[in-house]
């Protein structure tokens, strides 16, 4: 069984927790320290897909977050099969920017698939979560596999987000 390599990107505004999600997924750790990613950081993890026992080598591109002054370098997204588009549940504007990120990704990679991760669920009260999830649902787009609430700190749904994305990438 040959290992297939796939490039995936994490896209979102700055400080929404992209790097934390990757660190949680790849290294299994979480740190409160905030470090801005400059340019891009690349990590790699081999994911074993259960039903087919297929192996997929995820090359994860942690892309510098979008700030007011700087848009994401589109070239970094090129050639990606999948993306996790991340928003910060505690900051509404980051959620407002999600459609723009999604559009950018599918423009660059029309055949790609994506998962929307609403991150930092640990600092949001439960009753608000369901409401926020309803408000930010991109289920209408067939290329968006699902919208999922995550927490890198509490390790909520992090592996699931990556694994489901990986599974859908192999299918596509």
């Amino acid at each position: 069984m040959s290992t297939v390599s796939k490039k995936i990107c994490l896209i979102g505004d700055f400080s929404v927790g992209k790097t934390s999600l990757i660190r949680r997924f790849v290294e299994g750790v979480f740190s409160e320290k905030y470090l801005t990613t400059i340019g891009t950081k690349i990590s790699r993890k081999v994911v074993n897909l259960k039903p087919s026992s297929k192996e997929i080598d995820l090359i994860i591109w942690d892309i510098e977050g979008r700030t007011k002054f700087k848009s994401i370098v589109p070239n970094y997204i090129k050639g990606a099969t999948g993306a996790i588009i991340v928003g910060d549940l505690s900051r509404q504007e980051t959620l407002d920017h999600l459609p723009a990120h999604i559009e950018l990704f599918f423009q660059t990679n029309p055949k790609g698939v994506a998962i929307v991760a609403l991150n930092k669920s640990d600092i949001i009260e439960k009753h608000k979560l369901t409401k926020l999830l309803e408000l930010n649902n991109f289920g209408s787009n067939s290329q968006i596999i699902k919208t999922i609430v995550t927490s890198a700190k509490n390790n909520t749904n992090v592996d699931r987000a990556f694994t489901e994305l990986a599974e859908n990438m192999v299918d596509s």
Binding site: S2, S5, K6, K7, I42, I59, G79, T81
Partner: protein, 770 residues
Amino acid sequence: MPDSIDKLIDLLLDVETPVNPTNSEPASSPKEQQSLLTKPEKKPAFLAQKIPSTVESKDSVIEISHETAADNNNTEPNSTEPSLAESETNLAAIETPQPIEVVEESVAKVAEVVLDDRIQAISSAISSLKEQNIQETNNNGFSTDFVNPGIDDWILEKEARLNELADSLNNLIPLMMELLSVKVNDSQELILQTMIPLMDRAIQERSSQDLDKMSLAIARILPDAIAQEIKIEPKSMGKAIAPELALSIEEQIRLDQDAVSLALGSEMGKAIKAQIELEKDAMVDALYPVIGNTISKYLAEEIGRINQKVENSLSREGISRKIRAKMRGISEAELILQESIVCKVQAIFLIQKDSGLIICEVQPDKEHPLESDLVAGMLTAIRSFANDCIISGSELSEIDYGNFEILLEAAGYCYIAVVISGQPKPEFRDRIRETLSKLVMQYGDKIENYQGDTSTIPPSVKLVLKDLANIETDETSEANQKKSAPILLWLILIILASILLPWGIFKYHAVKSQRITEKVAVQLDNNPQLSVYRLQSQVDRKNITITGKVSSSHLRNLAQEIVSEIAQEEKLNLDNQIIAVDVPADPTFTTQEVTRVSQLLNQLTGVGIVSDYQDYRVTITGFILDTVSTETVTSYISNIPGVKQVVFNVKQELPTVDTRIYFDSQESEIKNSTEAGKIDFIKRFLEEYPTLNLRVIPHSDSKGSKSFNQKLTLERAKTVYQTAISQGVDPNRLEIVSEELFPPDVTPDQPLWLSRHVRFEPFIPEKTLP
């Protein structure tokens, strides 16, 4: 409450009276103090009077009056009236002993309570009392009505006095301060002694009361204090801090790691420098295990390579390096070093341009493989970044880091990244380009549609990349060896040829000239005239050179004739360098020569000569039977050095000998003395013609048988021969020849006796050289 006030007021009032005058006078301006000095006659008396009273009443006040006196004492030397001042001093001297003790005591007390606090406490007590009093009066308004106006008046009165008291106290404070300071100045020791036992307690107590304030108070002086202490006695300070230093640094590191590094960092360089200056060896020792190993390992490798280079210094590579070094204007050693840092391909990646996924990779170094996915991703990101943000549309072609270099070469959907250690040759980039174009041409679509599944890429791609990796590494060693082998062979061949060919030609010529020389020598030697001379011949490619000396130009020409024949055969030019020297010939030599030549000539048939050499003239006598021989003899003899004239006294015909010795019939003995006398004639003939010999020819008559006659004639010849020898004739000069039995000149009709004889016939003998 009024009671307590009363008590206090009373207490203070006792003090008040004596205080006032002192208060107004000494506390006044320095000018007034000066006036005090000018009028000492009144004041000392006053003061002296006051002191005892003050002592009794209140400690703090006593001090004042006493100190004023003391002050006056101090200023005494300046006084204009010494006598008065003296009396005053005396007074003071009498008075002081008692008060001083009291003063000390009081100072101790003051110190104990801390003067400031005490005064403050008093004033605050007073004011609080006042307030309380007023409040009380207000609150109990109804009662005041009752007691009014009596109490009112009382209060007013008390209040007035209280105010007075407060004023006086206020006035007192600065004075007390000054007094205290003067006292401290004056008798430091005493104060110290009194204060010391209390000091620690005071601090302790104060600390327990209000830690913050105490800390604050100490804090202000602490840095200065420490600085002072360090100045005064740095060692003890060091000792005091030392044990905790390590601990405190440890703690600080735990708290904030960066701060310590930051603080030390800037000084680290200087510190190391200083240490190196101070003790170089220690520093070297300390660093050796780290740097030493690294360097020695590196050097060992490098020196190995350099050795190899030096060993090859005489090879083709070495020579070409010398030339290259000259052309580039750097030393050969530098070039060697540059070349010894071997250029090695660490890894080759074929990467999809957009996704940064590895299409194919080759990593020859299996020990430390690079994390290819991450490297590829990062390179792609860097490329994208450079493309987007720095110069759009341009390509990143190489990344340098230390001794490593990443060469990048991009095509449509992919790019190739070669990680190289060392300095690659410029041609290597062309090779990368070739490889990439080959890959794109053959597998372009597969690369374009690459989805991260390496199984979709044919294995030949890897082979192409491996080829690229191999070429560079092997290029320096194997390729050169392959190239250099035939070249070396050729070189050897050329060298051999260049040595052997001339040698061969030389050898051939040498052999040839040797052969010719020998031939010439033989020919020259064969010539009887030239054989005595030492003539030498030299043969080079074009010429035969003959050198030597002969005694006449004739001999020179003779030699030339002989050699020129050989020269023509061998197609060479003749260079005749023989010198004809007209030497006055040695007569002995010439004589011998003439004799020798004559003997040689006598071997010719028909030549029987005797040469006589005298005074350069050769007289030749004898027989030369034909003219050709005469010429030969003439030329030979005349060419003998030293011979200038040849006199021929030769006969061309042999003489005839008519003498016949007759015998009786059938007898072989000489018959009588007449016949025997004819032998003498023979003897004389041979003496006359020394070059001639005689044949002894016997004959017989016709009587008797042939065999008998044959035997008889031989007997007769022998008889003559023996008789001649017995008479002294050289036997070699006689030769018995038996011819016809009958003599040719006697006819049968003549008498028989005529036929019975032995006749003689002269001949030139065949002579062998002696």
